[in-house]
């Protein structure tokens, strides 16, 4: 909503300037986003009559014009305008005047002819119009010497409002904003003059009646018929106000409908009566698939829940949104049918949104227009058309009202105690009443500390006591409400072990050199191809977006790692090949039924480039699991073929917790998957579900004192078939070593010469210790037990 200040000040006084008004309105919730000054800099433009036009020697288009500016004297200017004629009254910018934007005029010479300033076109002084049309011919009500800056409001600032939906209902008009200003200052409102009702007796009417066949969508339909409409344009000042309000001036008829809409918020539409057929006009539901060409030349296909304006034969407009091209008013229109209506706000909002057609009319109807101004606006508009066009009479063709027209405004009760307890300020009911009165509410006492409040017709947004509390709060001023910290008990205790596990995992990952990523949970279906997931693979079972805007918003992720690989690929393309990222986030698992999807929180790692490998990632995961309490209880199981197809089949594992719970997986990324993400070298990743990880976490950490007796170290090297896992060797050693064997450390793995094909050598340090000093004999016995077990149970060949 754009508010030319001069128009506003016609209805209400404001003691300060535009900036102070903007600040005061914003403080009351009518947010002024900007104060524009389209005519800033314009000074000293006056009207002058051209008394003579004379040629200038040596030029075929420049002319010398003699000007008479009445009390401002006489002068000569040189002009090349195409429409110069003696007798015209034109804008004259004398030397010392300046144009919008600040260009200052001086006396100049053109081909020996003196030009004292210049005669101006419409656009040169900031009025709507084309430069090429030539000089602006001023209308008869402006005489030579008149100050055009004042008369045409050329330097008037414009307040640009950004209205919230609740204020949009009553502040989408100059009158609505003027009411807010009056409430701020306590000043009087100067309402637009009451129009006289149409009184012409037109027998030869083309339109016999008004018919509403969708009463739930149309509450009222007023049709006035205008005949003998004159041909004049709207006054220049009106045109300037329309242009400043963001509406292009057209002709007196259209300009009058727009002017009244901006003035009081009631949209109007004018039809060329020649094109209306069948002796009837009204509102009905569109037929499904019905097509109408709107004024902007677009074909619009309608649905049965759209409302149209129709004559006896066809739709002539999309109700409350835009008129039809078939009945458009033209410059030669002399007979007009003028419509003012009340439409159900939600219906207009729905149609406008669906058509993607938000117009000045739909923006107002969708918020609910003032029911008390529907008929008023029609009469006012008819009067303005007759006045501006230069003639015409009007008659009522029909005024139909249905049940959906808002009845008398509601009466709402307000308790002073309720206001005080919600605002936190000691206000009496009487004080609340005076704030409400200032906003146009009618207030009377309703017992002690209670008010009976009659809501004004233009405040359709106010229906409950809480709405009145808000009105009192903003009239009192939010800025005057004190800042008080509430007392009371603290909130309920809260722990989120899964979030805590995520924080702990993240801290370890950062210490290990991984940076935290935040990736989008939305992805394209192409992701599944990059992950080598065959059709029917469980990980393709994803929550799907029904209405994505782009292909990369098709589905919700089941895993975090693809997002991390994508980010690693992005970094690689930007010459950052060695990179390591982690993420803690939600993944989405379809519930399979009506229930909401599961949203487990995962922790994932991915690394690319130097050093990225199975063991490097595994070490971080081990560190994380140990920190979270999983000491010595985690197993690593080779995935079955096709279970994790995006991983290297020989370098990947399920991470398995106590009781066989799968906590997640780790692995090197399959070369095809890595390549699909733009990763050339090695890449490895891991992902764990923090839910079971956190659930398995023991209650807390217990301090274990270390043994003071000496530890005895014995080294051991064995040769085994290479497919015997080191994990199994460790299990055998621990079982055989019993309590004395405190630690098993693998320090060398060797395959190659001297070992034999298909075999490998593993070298360990075994640490023996007890709560007393062990004798050599005790250690020897334990160590021999380990050696025997390795030989007997695994067939290990002992090298030392």
């Amino acid at each position: 909503m754009r508010v030319p200040l001069a128009w506003l000040l016609e209805m209400v006084d404001w003691p300060g300037d535009a900036a102070s008004l903007a600040e005061a309105l914003t403080g009351r919730g009518v947010a002024v986003e900007a104060v524009e000054r389209p005519g800033a800099g314009v000074v000293g433009i006056v009207a002058a009559r051209i008394t003579a036009v004379e040629p200038i020697a040596g030029s075929d288009h420049l002319k010398r014009c003699r000007l008479d500016a009445g009390p401002r004297g006489r002068a000569e200017v040189v002009s090349g305008a195409p429409n110069l004629a003696a007798g015209m009254v034109v804008p004259w910018a004398p030397p010392g005047a300046s144009l919008p934007g600040g260009r200052r005029l001086e006396a100049q010479e053109f081909r020996g002819a003196r030009s004292e300033g210049m005669a101006c076109s419409a656009d040169e002084i900031g009025l709507p119009g084309e430069h090429a049309d030539g000089l602006l011919a001023l209308p008869a009500d402006i005489g030579p010497g008149d100050d055009l800056v004042a008369a045409l409001e050329l330097d008037d600032p414009v307040l640009v409002l950004e209205l919230t939906p609740n204020y949009a209902a009553h502040c989408q008009s100059i009158l609505g904003v003027a009411r807010e200003v009056a409430a701020l200052t306590g000043g009087a409102l100067r309402l637009p003059p009451e129009p006289s009702p149409p009184n012409a007796d037109l027998d030869a009417t083309h339109v016999a009646s008004v018919r509403i066949s969708a009463p739930e969508l149309c509450g009222r339909f007023v049709a006035l018929q205008l005949a003998g409409v004159g041909t004049g344009p709207a006054p220049l000042r009106v045109q300037r106000r329309l242009a400043a309000s963001g509406v292009r001036p057209r002709n007196a008829i259209v300009d009058a409908t727009n002017y009244v809409m901006l003035e009081v918020g009631q949209p109007l539409h004018a039809y060329d009566l020649r094109d209306l057929r069948g002796g009837v006009i009204g509102a009905r539901r569109a037929a499904a698939g019905e097509v109408i060409v709107t004024l902007d030349g677009q074909r619009r296909t309608l649905r049965a829940d759209d409302l149209v304006i129709a004559d006896g034969e066809r739709a002539v407009g999309v109700a409350g949104v835009m008129g039809g091209e078939n009945t458009e008013v033209h410059d030669d229109t002399r007979e007009v049918l003028l419509e003012a209506a009340y439409f159900a706000p939600l219906g207009i909002a729905r149609t406008a949104r669906r058509l993607g057609l938000s117009t000045a009319a739909s923006a107002r109807f969708a918020r609910g227009v003032d029911p008390a101004r529907v008929r008023w606006a029609a009469d006012r508009c008819a009067e303005l058309i007759a006045r501006w066009g230069g003639g015409g009479v009007s008659a009522e063709a029909g005024d139909a009202v249905t049940d959906s027209f808002p009845a008398a405004p509601p009466v709402v009760r307000l308790r002073g105690a309720h206001v005080r307890s919600l605002i936190g300020v000691k206000l009496t009911a009487a004080e609340c009443g005076s704030y409400l009165t200032g906003l146009g509410f009618r207030v009377s006492a309703d017992g002690v500390d209670r008010l009976r409040v009659l809501v004004p017709s233009w405040r359709g947004d106010v229906a409950e006591e809480i709405d009145l509390v808000e009105e009192v709060a903003r009239a009192y001023g939010y800025d005057r409400i004190p800042e008080v910290l509430p007392g009371g008990a603290p909130g309920a205790p809260y722990r989120d072990p899964v979030a805590e596990a995520g924080e702990a995992a993240g801290a370890i990952a950062r210490a290990a050199g991984y940076s935290e990523a935040v990736t989008s949970p939305l992805h394209a279906v192409g992701e599944w191809g990059r992950l080598r997931l065959p059709a029917g693979h469980d990980l393709r079972r994803a929550v799907q977006i029904q209405n994505p805007m782009t292909e990369d918003q098709r589905a919700l992720r089941r895993m975090l790692v693809p997002g991390l690989l994508d980010a690693l690929g992005y970094n690689a393309r930007h010459r950052r090949v060695d990179a390591a990222l982690y993420e803690v986030g939600r993944v989405f698992q379809p519930s399979g039924g009506e229930a909401l999807p599961d949203e487990p929180r995962h922790f994932a790692l991915a690394a690319a480039g130097t050093g990225a490998g199975y063991l490097a990632v595994k070490g971080v995961v081990e560190e994380v699991l140990e920190r979270l309490g999983w000491v010595g209880e985690v197993g690593w199981e080779r995935p079955a073929a096709g279970e994790l197809p995006f991983l290297h089949p020989g370098r990947s594992a399920w991470v398995v917790g106590a009781g066989g719970t799968r906590l997640g997986w780790i692995g090197e990324v399959h070369p095809e998957t890595a390549a699909a993400y733009g990763l050339v070298g090695a890449a490895a990743a891991a992902e764990v579900d923090l839910g079971p990880v956190a659930a398995g976490r023991p209650a807390g950490v217990r301090f274990a004192p270390w043994l003071r007796s000496p530890a005895v170290r014995r080294d051991l090297a064995i040769v085994l078939p290479e497919d015997v896992p080191a994990g199994e060797v460790a299990v055998v050693m621990r079982a055989a070593g019993g309590e004395l064997l405190r630690d098993v450390r693998l320090f060398d793995v060797y395959m190659g010469e001297g070992i034999g094909a298909g075999r490998r050598s593993l070298a360990y340090t075994l640490v023996y210790q007890a709560d007393r000093t062990l004798t050599d004999a005790e250690v020897d016995a334990a160590h021999d037990g380990v050696r025997r077990a390795l030989a007997e149970r695994l067939g290990a060949q002992l090298r030392s």
Binding site: G27, G29, R353, L422, I423, L485, P521, M549, Q553
Partner: protein, 344 residues
């Protein structure tokens, strides 16, 4: 002089000059052996004491022992002196260029969004608000209906929300957690929670729009809660986030789930109210929306609006991070460019 007499003073002088002449630890050691060793000159001289007349022996012996102690002291003084010199020389030789770059450990960086997220949760935690949580795929009842956003309301437009099933969508705001938190606690009081989380809007991604972003929502419901308390909590929060000089301004606004509603501005953190490019010359920066919980929302949460009242607020975590770090393009947050991440 008695031919048998021992000239202890001369011996001492000689030992002293030899020790002074020794310029290395080895030289001192050799001198020590020569003088103090088992067959060193002082030992030999002490043996000679036995040949003295009995009457002279005690004095000569005492004198000899004295000289031996003095030479021993000389040796150790000389040793420590040379050790000190050697250490000094070694340290001097070990001098390095102290402006060489340090050997940096490879340490990961926390994402700026989560740094801000943790900060906000910490501050509200200090003010007595616990974290509450809700799903990102939400029912449209909790995302809209329960929040007093009826069918047909413009913010319900399918054009603005991602739907995953009939009646299920990606939440467009963290506000549904208000209802979940109330329903979980009702009728207990107070409800004092903050809900940070990810939200989604069906929006084209560019420098200032993102389909995926982050909000933090707060809610306090108790007996006798007023707008003054809302202003008090928000002002205290703003001071803890932006510094003790920060002031807030609350302007009336509109949200379906609060009434009265407001927009909160804080004094510009860059110019402290003087006006700058960031605050577009106003001296204020808009940081959040807030309001008194609408009676309908309280009822949907399981509370009687005649008995209790409350306030709620919501703010964009991305926006706080943008302001704090001067990030002008929202797309950086989800790009995970290490040139970006490693700055935080």
């Amino acid at each position: 002089m008695d031919p048998l007499a021992i000239d202890w003073a001369a011996l001492k002088d000689q030992a002293e000059s030899e020790l002074q002449a020794a310029s290395s630890l080895q030289g001192v050691e050799e001198a020590r052996v020569r003088w103090l060793g088992r067959s060193g000159r002082i030992a030999l001289a002490l043996r000679d004491v036995g040949r003295l007349p009995a009457a002279e022996r005690p004095a000569a012996g005492a004198q000899g022992n004295e000289v031996r102690a003095e030479v021993e002291a000389l040796v150790s003084e000389r040793l420590s002196r040379l050790e000190a010199e050697a250490l000094h020389a070694r340290l001097a030789a070990e001098t390095i260029d102290i402006t060489l770059p340090g050997q940096r450990p490879q340490v990961g960086h926390a994402h700026p969004l989560h740094q801000v997220w943790r900060d906000l949760v910490r501050i509200f935690g200090e003010l007595g608000f616990a974290v509450a949580d809700g799903p990102e795929v939400e029912t449209d009842w909790l995302n809209f209906g329960a929040l007093n956003i009826p069918e047909g309301h413009p913010t319900r437009d399918a054009q603005d929300s991602f739907y995953v099933a009939d009646g299920q969508l990606l939440r467009t705001q963290t506000s549904p957690v208000q209802i979940r938190a109330m329903q979980a606690l009702a009728p207990a009081l107070p409800v004092r929670v903050v809900a940070p989380g990810r939200v989604y809007r069906r929006d084209t991604t560019d420098a200032t729009h993102s389909a995926v972003f982050h909000q933090i929502e707060g809610l306090l419901v108790d007996r006798g809660i007023a707008m003054s308390h809302m202003k008090g909590v928000i002002a205290e929060f703003a001071r803890r986030l932006y510094g003790p000089e920060t002031k807030i301004r609350v302007r009336p606004s509109y949200f379906p789930f609060t009434e009265p509603s407001g927009e909160v501005d804080v004094t510009c953190v860059f110019c402290h109210g003087a006006g700058c490019r960031i605050c577009k010359g106003t001296g204020w920066i808009e940081i959040m929306g807030c309001g008194m919980v609408h009676p309908v929302v309280l009822k949907n949460g399981g509370y009687d609006p005649e008995e209790v009242s409350g306030f709620a607020w919501g703010m964009g975590i991305d926006r706080v991070a943008q302001l704090r770090y001067g990030i002008d393009d929202l797309r950086h947050f989800l790009q995970n460019d290490l040139r970006f991440l490693e700055q935080f």
